[in-house]
Symmetry: C2
Subunit: 146 residues, 2 copies
DNA sequence: TTAAGTATATTGATATATCAATAATTAATA
DNA sequence: TATTAATTATTGATATATCAATATACTTAA
């Protein structure tokens, strides 16, 4: 197939970027409306911690596709808010886990998050979502090599 | 359909986030390898400016899905690098356009950007990309209302 | 035509992202 | 075991993102 230049609106990266931004923005407003002072990125970390009780910062970073530096700073914030705690694993690493306050927050938010998530894909079929997943995972794989 | 909680890896936002990050990271490395000191976000702005000769910051921001505040700061940087210039439109707004240096950079980068883009979707069919576009545009629409 | 409302760009505060450098510690190997 | 190599977390510098506030300037309506 001939490679060719295309205007921005026809480039898949543009579609992805636009959808991600709309989603992130709506999600941040959504948390605010619930009276919660957390961002959509912090939510992902909290949700992950609710699934796997205890993990090092490195493991957590990999799981949520974040840089070690980002994780350090995000954890600093939600630790200050009393949502998570760091426990020494060995002398260079920590296990991270939810506090009671963090657990309760996650339990409270999950049903709302599910509703919110379903709103985003209203009007789409399971088949379409399967293709969507395949495409995203392919793009991820194609760019993860080097 | 019953709404339900799912682990992170089964949530579409997670797939999107991961693919976006892999893409952005690879793209930044790609520009660096070309000897170019621009980010993938700056590239989008430059590319858009090459498609529409002259536009206000507001129009540009809408076109590339960025906040006015983000555009101001990004333009400050690439203006300092001599890639774009701001020309007074009326007394409160600017028209933004590429300089000669900016135009030449875009012309030089486009063929590389096309190759790069095609690498990301290797192994995917046109049909799949059509579904991909539909899903992303639906998500965008579903979250743009409020 | 003045007053009120709207639009554009900027700035400050804060959160996140990347890269590079560093410190401390653990693991591998000669 | 002693040295070297790899790992984990942190920090600094810079870019981007959002929200709120502000300053100008344009537009509309009374």
């Amino acid at each position: 197939m001939k490679e060719e230049d295309k205007p921005l609106e026809e480039v898949y990266f543009f579609w992805m970027d636009r959808a991600m931004k709309a989603q992130r923005k709506a999600k941040n407003r959504f948390f605010k409306k619930l009276g919660l002072d957390i961002t959509s990125d912090q939510w992902i970390i909290l949700k992950r911690l609710s699934e796997i009780e205890s993990q090092t910062q490195k493991e957590l970073a990999d799981a949520v596709s974040k840089d070690p530096a980002s994780i350090t700073r995000s954890l600093d914030i939600i630790e200050k808010d009393g949502l998570i705690e760091r426990i020494s694993a060995d002398r260079r690493s920590f296990k991270v886990m939810l506090t009671k306050k963090g657990s309760e927050l996650v339990k409270r938010v999950i049903p709302e998050a599910v509703k919110y998530r379903n709103k985003g894909i209203e009007g789409l079929s399971d088949d379409e979502m399967q293709v969507f997943k395949k495409v995203l995972n392919t793009i991820h794989a194609n760019f993860s090599g080097d």
